[in-house]
């Protein structure tokens, strides 16, 4: 079942064999080895993730060193981004003990943001998270974080009880509520978290590919095809390439939005794991 490799990272099911460059499909997301004869995991996507992490670390070190009371432009820009995460996400969602989770949230936001923007920038032109293995790992980290925070706060069994059984449910309904809440809190949450990020990036990159690759094919067409004269094909190709800039702009917005939403939902899950019973 080659399609299933979308949801489980199994490259070999899709990437073996030759493919046409148009229409784009699942195979368009196959990795390339960084150099000839490199081991399978040394590919462009892993390299992108590592470069993304390096950019994030370098950025935060750069804006955080030599801080002054009167901030420079560099420090001001860094503090502005930090404040968006600190006040707009962490403090809004988590309340008074947001500080413990702030480093994770800030890292998550900046890492996802940088990797999503890779989809629109030269050298990369590929959003790392359109490969499903990467969002799975982030979702697992978030899963460990919010469950760990809940267990650390109230102990294993009380936490489990609190998360599968909302207060005030009458006994006959327990048989229905407990499996549902268990599914919702421990299965659906991390799965949708990963799938949302992955599928947004995947769908966005696919649309970009349709416009850019299809536009290039049409623009460079040299003979009439499908009953259309060459000039019409070339004109359509040019129009599609111009329109692809609008798609790129939309994708940049989606990238920022998804980074924000992943972080907000992580904070939301942590806050619901920490919440007291009412």
């Amino acid at each position: 079942m080659p399609g299933l490799s979308l949801l489980i990272p199994l490259d070999w099911a899709v990437c073996s064999g030759e493919h046409e460059s148009f229409p784009p499909g699942v195979f368009s997301f196959c990795s390339r080895p960084l150099w000839d004869g490199a081991p399978g995991w040394v590919n462009n996507q892993v390299a992108q993730a590592v470069i993304g992490a390096a950019i994030v670390i370098a950025f935060w070190l750069w804006v955080a060193h030599a801080q002054k009371i009167v901030p420079s432009k560099r420090q001001f820009a860094g503090e502005w981004i930090y404040n968006v995460i600190r006040n707009g996400i962490a403090r809004d969602m988590l309340g008074h003990d947001y500080r413990r989770f702030l480093p994770y949230l800030a890292t998550l936001f900046s890492f996802i943001l940088v990797n999503n923007l890779f989809g629109e920038f030269f050298l990369f032109m590929f959003p790392t998270f359109s490969k499903v293995g990467f969002p799975w790992i982030l979702a697992i980290l978030t899963f460990l974080l919010y469950n760990g925070a809940g267990i650390a706060k109230s102990g294993f069994l009380p936490y489990l009880k609190k998360s599968v059984l909302p207060a005030g449910v009458p006994k006959p309904l327990w048989i229905l509520i407990i499996p549902l809440e268990f599914l919702s809190n421990f299965v659906v949450r991390p799965v949708t978290l990963a799938l949302r990020l992955f599928a947004n990036m995947f769908a966005g990159h696919l649309v970009v590919l349709v416009f850019v690759v299809g536009g290039t094919l049409l623009l460079t067409a040299t003979e009439p095809g499908n009953g259309m004269p060459t000039w019409l094909l070339n004109g359509a190709g040019g129009a599609s390439l111009v329109f692809s800039f609008a798609i790129f702009a939309l994708e940049m917005f989606v990238g920022v939005l998804q980074a924000y939403i992943f972080t907000v939902l992580t904070a939301q899950y942590v806050s619901s794991a920490l919440a007291e019973e009412h």
Binding site: M1, P2, G3, L4, L6, L7, G25, V26, G88, D92, T192, L195, R196, F198, A199, N200, F202, A203, L257, Q258, Y260, I261, V264, L265, Q268
Partner: protein, 74 residues
């Protein structure tokens, strides 16, 4: 069969097109509510928008899972 009527491709995409209807209405409803709320109380816009984005993400997940499954299930 007339050659004109030959349609090829994946039926999944038609299923996906149907599946976008629900999230489409949902997302429209969320932002319609934000517009309504902003018209009633303009200073609450920021608070409403940040909640709206979360709601948007949750609703949009349906459409997005739809497109993933449209490719995944053959």
């Amino acid at each position: 069969m007339l050659p004109v009527l030959e349609i090829s491709g994946s039926l999944n995409m038609i299923g996906y097109a149907l599946a976008t209807l629900g999230p489409g209405i949902g997302v429209a409803w969320i932002f319609a509510s934000v517009i309504n709320g902003t018209a009633r109380q303009p200073e609450a816009r920021g608070a409403m928008l940040s909640t709206a984005w979360i709601g948007f993400a949750v609703v949009e997940a349906l459409a997005i899972i739809g497109i993933a499954l449209a490719f995944a299930l053959r």
